[in-house]
C-alpha cells in the first residue's frame, strides 16, 4: 500500500464529541489530527442549546476545557418550566426538580461560539503532541487495507492513516455509514430540530423573563400547538438572544405532511410567547438538523476495526420527554474513547480499543441513560398502535379527562413530570406528546389572551438571510428517484422547502409528458442547510458538501 501520512489518532469532526476526544487524547500525549469540514468548527452545527454537566457522568465539558462556562457558554439555566397547551388554554409546571436531578450545572450555548472556542483549545492542545485541527476538510470515507479500516480519505487531502479513528462527525455520519454501523432508512429513528435565534438586548431579557443578568430561563412546550405532530418546543435565553425551536419525530412529520417552518411559526405566534417577544421580533438565523433517537439507535457496539464512533454519529442523543441531551453524552463518549485507546494501546488486535470503549460506556452508566431498559419494556406496550388507541380513547372520554382534571391529578402530574423515571417512560406516542398535554392544558390550564405581535419571516426571507458558499456545479445531494412516492415526503419535511414554494430544495411539479400529466419532485441543493432529513425520507445519494462549502451558520 502507498505510504500515506500517519497519525496516532485522527478525529473526524470538531463538535463536542470530537473536541472532547481530541483534547483527552492530547492530554494523554497522543499525536492527534482533527479534521473538520466547516470553515470553523460550529459553522455547520445546530443545537437547541442546553449543555448539561451531569453529576453521574464520568466526564463533563468543563473537566476537559477549563474556563468553558465563562468563555463558551451563554446563561446558566435557573428557571425551568413546561407548558401544556390546548389552544389558548395553558397549564404550566415548574420543572426545576426534574431539571436539577443529577445536574451539576446546565448552560445555554450557541454552537458557533462554543465550537469555535473549543476548536481553538483543541488546536492548542493537539499541536503540543504533534497534531492539530484542520478546518475546511471533509472526510469522505474510510481508508481500508485488505478490508480492514486503517484511516480516512478526504476531498481535500491525501488519505491519512491512523491507529485510532474517532468518528465524531455527528448525525448523518458518513463514517458510520461507510463502516456499515448506521443506515439512514427509518424515519422513526430520528428527530428533526428546527430553531430560530432571535435578537434581544440583555436587559430586555432580564426584564421579560424576570431574571438576573447571570441567570437564564428554559421553557418547554407541548400539546396541540403542533396539531397531531409528535414533538415539542423550547425557548432558551442566551446572553443577548433567544433560542426558540421545535423538535419533532421525523416519522410523525412525514405522516402528517407537516411543514417544519410552519410548526416553528405556530410556536412563535402562540399567545403565550407574547409575554416575552413583542413586535420587536428580529430573527438572526433559521437553522435545522436531524438528531438520532438514542433509545432506538444508540449503538451497543459503536466500533469497527480501529474506528470508534462517538456522539450523534453513534446515535448517542437522548431525548426523553422534554429532556434533550446530546452534547453532554458526546463529550463523555469522546473522552471515554480516548481513554480506551490509551489503555489498549499496543494491543495487536485492532478492535481492542472499540471493545474497551463499549465496555466503558456500559460501566459508566452512559449506555443505560441512552437506551434505558425500562423504555424497551414500555415501548413494547405503549407504542403499539392498538394500545395507544385505547389509551387515547380513554383520555378523550369524559371519564378520562375528569380523571386527569381533578386537583389530585394535578399534583400527581406535577410529580410525574418531575420524575426522571416516569419521564423516561413516556413512550413516544401521540398520547405522551399531544393528547395528554392538551388534556392537561384544557382541564388545568388558564386561558391566555395576550396579543401576539410576532411576524415570523417567510421561508424565502429565512433562506435569503443565511450565508452560503455554494459549490457551483457540484451538488452534494442527488435525487435518485424523482417520483412523489419515493421522494415527495421531502417537499414537506425539508425545513427549507414547502409545497408551492419555488425557492426551496424540494419542489413538487406537475409536468406534462406526452399528453399525460405527472407530478415529479425536483431538487436544488443551493438552499440546503444540511439537516440530513432528505437522506432519510427521500431516495437520494446524500453526502455533505466539500470542506467549507454550503451553509455557514453564524449562531448555531
Amino acid at each position: 500500500m502507498t505510504e500515506y501520512e500517519h497519525y496516532e489518532a485522527v478525529v473526524v469532526g470538531c463538535g463536542p464529541g470530537g473536541a472532547a476526544a481530541a483534547a483527552r487524547l492530547a492530554d494523554h500525549g497522543v499525536e492527534t489530527l482533527v479534521l473538520e469540514r466547516g470553515t470553523e468548527a460550529g459553522s455547520k452545527n445546530v443545537s437547541g442549546g442546553l449543555i448539561y454537566a451531569e453529576e453521574s457522568a464520568p466526564y463533563t465539558i468543563d473537566d476537559l476545557f477549563e474556563g468553558f462556562r465563562e468563555e463558551a457558554g451563554e446563561r446558566p439555566v435557573t428557571d425551568y418550566h413546561i407548558h401544556n397547551i390546548a389552544e389558548n388554554s395553558v397549564k404550566t409546571y415548574d420543572l426545576s426538580d426534574l431539571h436539577e436531578d443529577d445536574t451539576d450545572w446546565c448552560d445555554a450555548v450557541l454552537r458557533r461560539k462554543m465550537d469555535s472556542w473549543l476548536e481553538r483549545r483543541v488546536h492548542e492542545k493537539t499541536s503540543e503532541t504533534g497534531g492539530g485541527v484542520l478546518t475546511n476538510v471533509r472526510v469522505n470515507g474510510l481508508l481500508r487495507d485488505g478490508g480492514e479500516i486503517v484511516g480516512v480519505t478526504c476531498d481535500e487531502l491525501d488519505p491519512i492513516k491512523a491507529d485510532l479513528i474517532v468518528g465524531a462527525d455527528g448525525v448523518n455520519s458518513e463514517l458510520a455509514r461507510d463502516a456499515g454501523l448506521m443506515d439512514w432508512e427509518e424515519p422513526d429513528e430520528w428527530f428533526q430540530g428546527v430553531k430560530a435565534v432571535v435578537d434581544m438586548e440583555p436587559d430586555v431579557i432580564d426584564d421579560r423573563f424576570d431574571i438576573e443578568p447571570d441567570e437564564g430561563a428554559a421553557h418547554l412546550f407541548s400539546g396541540d400547538l403542533f396539531e397531531d405532530v409528535r414533538g415539542g418546543g423550547f425557548l432558551y435565553t442566551n446572553e443577548d438572544s433567544l433560542s426558540i425551536g421545535t423538535v419533532f419525530h421525523l416519522d410523525s412529520l412525514v405522516e402528517q405532511e407537516a411543514e417544519p417552518h410552519e410548526l416553528l411559526d405556530a410556536l412563535l405566534t402562540h399567545p403565550l410567547l407574547a409575554q416575552w417577544v413583542r413586535d420587536d421580533y428580529h430573527e438572526r438565523e433559521y437553522a435545522a438538523k436531524l438528531v438520532p433517537d438514542s433509545k432506538k439507535v444508540a449503538h451497543e457496539e459503536p466500533y469497527r476495526d480501529r474506528l470508534v464512533l462517538v456522539g450523534d454519529a453513534a446515535g448517542q442523543m437522548q431525548a426523553q420527554g422534554p429532556i434533550i441531551k446530546g452534547m453532554n453524552h458526546a463529550v463523555t463518549a469522546g473522552a471515554l474513547a480516548a481513554d480506551a485507546f490509551v489503555v489498549t494501546r499496543g494491543n495487536t488486535d485492532s478492535e481492542a480499543v472499540g471493545r474497551r470503549y463499549a465496555q466503558m460506556l456500559e460501566k459508566s452508566g452512559t449506555m443505560d441513560k441512552l437506551r434505558p431498559r425500562r423504555y424497551e419494556i414500555s415501548r413494547t406496550l405503549g407504542e403499539r398502535d392498538a394500545v395507544t388507541n385505547v389509551v387515547e380513547r380513554v383520555l378523550e372520554s369524559p371519564v378520562g379527562s375528569v380523571a386527569i382534571g381533578n386537583p389530585i391529578a394535578n399534583r400527581l402530574l406535577k410529580r410525574a413530570y418531575n420524575s426522571p423515571f416516569l419521564v423516561s417512560m413516556l413512550p413516544d406516542t401521540k398520547t405522551g406528546y399531544v393528547t395528554l398535554p392538551s388534556i392537561i392544558g384544557e382541564e388545568h390550564g388558564r386561558s391566555i389572551h395576550w396579543e401576539n405581535e410576532i411576524e415570523p419571516p417567510t421561508l424565502e426571507e429565512r433562506i435569503g438571510d443565511l450565508t452560503y458558499d455554494t459549490d457551483i456545479g457540484n451538488p452534494h445531494i442527488e435525487l435518485r428517484d424523482e417520483s412523489v412516492e419515493a421522494s415527495g415526503a421531502a417537499v414537506h419535511a425539508c425545513p427549507v422547502s414547502a409545497e408551492d414554494f419555488g425557492g426551496g430544495c424540494y419542489r413538487s411539479e406537475t409536468v406534462a409528458t406526452n399528453g399525460s400529466e405527472e407530478t415529479l419532485v425536483s431538487l436544488d441543493t443551493q438552499p440546503c442547510i444540511e439537516c440530513g432529513t432528505c437522506a432519510v425520507v427521500a431516495d437520494t445519494d446524500w453526502e455533505h458538501p466539500r470542506g467549507g462549502k454550503g451553509v455557514e451558520y453564524r449562531e448555531g
Binding site: 491525501d158 494491543n347 455554494t470
Partner: protein, 529 residues
C-alpha cells in the same frame, strides 16, 4: 469466550494458570478482560510474558497499557512534528514561470515605443530585421481540438483569403495565406487548411503537442515565423518575418498570441472583429521621424475591436518607427466574426513539415487530466435580456417559445432563466431544451447582467436572483402576483399572465411601438415606479 476470568485471580495465580494456555487468541482475550477489569500492570506483564514465551510476541512489544484511566502521561511523548496546518497543505507545486517574456505588448493605437527599459526584447537571442526587413504573407494560427480544426481557424483562413486576394488586386503583389499549426499527427489538418483557403500550410508534429502547451507552442510558432530550420523546410520563403499574423481570440489563442508577438518583437491588437488593409497617413513625429512631416504607410492592417461597452470600435494599427520595425502586424480574432470560404478539396497548396528540436525543458508542465466544459453562453453585453421564471410552469415549452419570440423581436437580445427553471423537472421539448440549462442562469450563482432592458416574466425576484440583474437600466416584470418581491425593484410591473402578456409585448416591439407604458396600461396592470 474466554474461559479464564483474570479478575478472579491474583497475579501469581494468573501467572500459573497462563502456563497452561498456548492459544494466542485466548491469551489476548485474557489481556483484554484484564484491561477492562482490574487492569493490573503486573497482570498485563504476565500475559505478555506468556505471549512471548509461545512466540506470539517479540520481547518488549506490546503493552503500554499500564496507563490508568485519568492518568496524565505528559512528558512521555516526544514532539514529533511542527504545526500540521502547514504540513498537511501539500507540497508546493513548482510554478512554471518563464523568464521575463510575460509582458504583453501594448495595445494602444500605436505600437509601444521602445524605451529600452520595459521592452521585452532585451534578453532575446534573436532579434532580426529591426530596420529594412523583408516581410510578406498573412499567417494564420490554426488552432485544433480533438483532431479537428476549430471553426474560428476556418473563419480566419476565409478572411485571410479574401484579404490577400484584395491585396493582390490593390498592389499587384501575390502574397500568400500561410496556415501554421501543430499537434500530434496533424498533416491531414494542414491539408485541410489548404482546402479552406491557405496557400501554404506549415505544421509541426510531435506526440507531446497533442494539447496546447504554452512554452513549446510559443517556441515553435516563433521559430516557424522567423523562417528558422532546415533549408528544405524553409526554402518556400524569402522574407524575415510574416507581414501579418492572425490568432484566434480563444483561451489558448489569446495566450499564444501575446507570447509569440512579444517573441517576434511586435505588438498585438487583441479581440478584433474586423480587418482591412489600407494605407495610412500619419504625422506623429515618433512615426515619421521628423516633426511636421507626413508619412504614408502602405499595406497597413487595420484591426477593429469593440470597446468594452460593445457599441463603439477602435481601429488599431501597428506601424513601424524609423529604424525600428514592428512586424508581423498581429491580431487575435473573436470567433464568429468572419465566414469561412467554401471548402474546396481541389485547391492547390503546399504542405510543409516544420523541423526543429524540441527541448525537454519546454515540457516541464504536464497535462495529466483534462475535462471539456460545456460551451457556455455569455449573457452579458446585450441590449435586452428576457428572463423567464417558474411562472412558465403551466406550459414550460410554450412559455419558453414565447420568451424566445420576444428575444427575436429585439435586435440584440438574449434569453436568461432563473435557477428555479434550471433545477426544475419541467420536461422541455427538444427545440427549447437547450435554453433550460445552467449556462443561462442569472443571479448570485449564475451570470450578472446589466442590459438596457430586462424583462422578467414569471420571476418572483428572490434576492439571489436580484443580485444578478438589478443594475439593469429598465426592469419590466410580468407577474400574476402583485405581492411578488420583484415588484420592489422593477420600473414597470405588469400584473398579468405571461402567456397572455408576452405575445402582446412581442407584437408591440415588432410593430415598433415599444411603449412600455402602453403595454402596462393596456393589460390592465399598473405602473409602479
Amino acid at each position: 469466550m474466554t474461559e479464564l476470568d483474570p479478575d478472579d485471580h491474583t497475579v501469581d495465580e494468573l501467572t500459573e494458570k497462563l502456563e497452561t494456555i498456548d492459544d494466542v487468541e485466548e491469551l489476548r482475550g485474557i489481556l483484554e478482560a484484564e484491561q477492562a477489569g482490574r487492569d493490573r500492570k503486573t497482570a498485563h506483564e504476565a500475559v505478555h510474558r506468556r505471549l512471548e514465551a509461545i512466540g506470539a510476541e517479540a520481547a518488549g512489544e506490546g503493552d503500554s497499557g499500564g496507563v490508568e484511566e485519568g492518568t496524565e502521561t505528559e512528558g512521555e511523548y516526544e514532539e514529533t512534528k511542527e504545526d500540521v496546518g502547514e504540513e498537511a497543505e501539500g507540497e508546493e507545486v513548482e510554478a512554471a514561470t518563464e523568464d521575463d517574456e510575460e509582458t504583453e505588448p501594448d495595445e494602444t493605437d500605436e505600437p509601444a515605443e521602445d524605451d529600452g527599459l520595459s521592452h521585452p526584447t532585451r534578453d532575446k537571442k534573436h532579434v532580426r530585421a529591426l530596420a529594412d526587413g523583408e516581410y510578406a504573407d498573412m499567417w494564420v494560427f490554426c488552432e485544433t481540438q480533438g483532431g479537428e480544426l476549430l471553426e474560428v481557424s476556418k473563419e480566419m483562413l476565409g478572411k485571410a483569403r479574401r484579404l490577400m486576394d484584395q491585396f493582390a488586386d490593390d498592389y499587384g503583389d501575390e502574397e500568400r495565406v500561410v496556415a501554421f499549426l501543430m499537434g500530434d499527427d496533424c498533416e491531414g489538418l494542414a491539408e485541410e487548411c489548404i482546402t479552406y483557403g491557405a496557400d501554404i500550410a506549415v505544421y509541426h508534429d510531435d506526440e507531446r503537442l497533442e494539447r496546447f502547451l504554452h512554452k513549446p507552442y510559443t517556441e515553435i510558432s516563433s521559430h516557424m515565423a522567423r523562417g528558422e530550420g532546415t533549408v528544405e523546410s524553409t526554402d518556400w520563403r524569402d522574407y524575415d518575418k510574416p507581414r501579418y499574423i492572425l490568432f484566434p481570440a480563444t483561451n489558448n489563442g489569446r495566450d499564444l498570441s501575446a507570447k509569440v508577438q512579444a517573441e517576434l518583437d511586435s505588438g498585438l491588437a487583441s479581440d478584433c472583429s474586423d480587418l482591412f488593409i489600407e494605407e495610412n497617413e500619419v504625422s506623429n513625429p515618433v512615426k515619421t521621424g521628423e516633426p511636421g512631416v507626413k508619412k504614408t504607410f502602405e499595406k497597413v492592417l487595420h484591426m477593429k475591436r469593440p470597446d468594452f461597452s460593445g457599441f463603439e470600435y477602435s481601429t488599431i494599427l501597428c506601424l513601424d518607427n524609423p529604424g525600428r520595425e514592428f512586424h508581423p502586424q498581429g491580431a487575435s480574432i473573436i470567433p464568429g466574426s468572419f465566414d469561412p470560404i467554401e471548402r474546396d478539396p481541389d485547391r492547390d497548396g503546399l504542405v510543409i513539415e516544420h523541423d526543429m528540436e524540441l527541448e525537454e525543458d519546454w515540457f516541464r508542465v504536464e497535462i495529466t487530466e483534462y475535462d471539456q466544459l460545456e460551451a457556455g453562453i455569455d449573457l452579458t453585453g446585450h441590449e435586452v435580456i428576457v428572463c423567464l421564471g417558474r411562472g412558465i410552469a403551466d406550459d414550460p415549452t410554450g412559455g419558453m417559445e414565447l420568451g424566445l419570440d420576444l428575444v427575436d423581436a429585439f435586435a440584440d437580445a438574449e434569453l436568461g432563466i432563473t435557477r428555479g427553471i434550471v433545477t426544475s423537472s419541467y420536461q422541455f421539448e427538444g427545440h427549447v431544451e437547450e435554453y433550460s440549462k445552467e449556462e443561462r442562469q442569472i443571479g448570485e450563482t449564475g451570470q450578472v447582467v446589466a442590459p438596457n432592458l430586462y424583462v422578467a416574466a414569471g420571476v418572483s425576484g428572490a434576492v439571489q436572483h436580484k443580485v444578478g440583474m438589478d443594475e439593469s437600466d429598465t426592469i419590466v416584470a410580468i407577474n400574476t402576483d402583485t405581492d411578488a418581491r420583484i415588484r420592489d425593484f422593477s420600473d414597470y410591473f405588469v400584473e398579468g399572465d405571461l402567456f397572455a402578456v408576452l405575445p402582446r409585448l412581442t407584437d408591440a416591439v415588432e410593430s415598433g411601438e415599444i411603449e412600455l407604458e402602453a403595454v402596462a396600461d393596456g393589460s390592465g396592470g399598473e405602473r409602479d415606479d
